[in-house]
């Protein structure tokens, strides 16, 4: 299973829909996508992880890197995830305190805090 990426704009947010497995092999593709979006001036990102089957620490590293980039432009990076096995990885690494995690894209897009 490879990684699938698609982006769309919702208001002032850019939603990145990710599917498949984010691991040491595929994470560079996600990194490139996030870097490109930020370089193109998209500083409010919503990463929809509902289609993600597998996430490892390399993937976490890419998301943290994305967060650093958008924050440099006073932007935001929000996640959408309801899958327990993915949420668990954020929990054991303490990253639930770093990322706002939402239950739907609509909720993430509407969030302003």
């Amino acid at each position: 299973m490879d990684l699938s990426l698609s982006t769309r704009t919702v208001g002032d947010r850019t939603v990145v829909e990710v599917g498949g497995e984010i691991d040491v092999y595929t994470a560079p593709k996600l990194r490139e996508q996030l870097v490109e979006l930020v370089n193109d001036g998209n500083f409010h990102l919503v990463v929809d992880m509902e289609g993600v089957d597998f996430l490892d620490s390399t993937g976490l590293g890419v998301l943290v890197g994305g967060l650093k980039r958008v924050r440099a432009h006073e932007g935001s990076l929000r996640l959408v995830c309801n899958q327990e096995r993915i949420l668990k990885i954020f929990r054991i690494t303490g990253l639930t305190k770093v990322f706002p995690i939402h239950t739907s894209v609509e909720e993430a897009v509407a969030a302003t805090d």
């Binding site: 691991d23 040491v24 490892d56 096995r85």
Partner: protein, 143 residues
């Protein structure tokens, strides 16, 4: 000897293969279905780390994975042949300095968060991560 042994070139694309094989052997060994996701993630982390260490230090040897079925337990050993730095010291040959080290530590953090029984040993000639899970008795033993 190990139930199944796997050696793969230190390339990121092979880590997924190691995850799939490890999960399949763990399932057969009687590791609880609910824990298989953890096995998959932990072995992936250990293999990603080993691949990174080999690539950063120019080691051409393969990464070794041993899947060991024992009485009441199942163990996975992931061995690398990279010369390990003294903890706290600089890693020689690391290209992207801090970022590489951070990822390495994050991988270990995930492993220790996931697996209760884990041993990490390192030496001049490489390192080994051994992770162990309990297994349920095989169905035939219950008859």
């Amino acid at each position: 000897m190990a139930t199944v042994e796997l050696r793969f070139s230190a390339l990121p694309e092979h880590v997924r293969t190691a995850r799939l094989v490890a999960a399949a052997v763990a399932r057969r060994a009687g590791v609880d279905e609910a824990v298989l996701d953890e096995v998959r993630l932990a072995v992936g982390e250990a293999c990603s780390r080993a691949v990174g260490l080999h690539r950063n230090s120019g080691v051409t040897a393969p990464v070794k994975v041993a899947l060991i079925e024992e009485e009441k337990q199942f163990s996975i050993e992931v061995g690398d042949e990279a010369p390990h730095a003294v903890p706290g010291g600089d890693t020689p040959g690391a290209q992207d300095g801090d970022a590489e080290i951070e990822e390495d530590e994050m991988g270990l953090a995930v492993i220790s968060g996931l697996v209760d029984d884990v041993e990490v040993t390192t030496g001049q000639n490489g390192g080994l991560i051994r992770m162990t899970w309990p297994t349920a008795p095989p169905v035939t033993a219950l008859l």
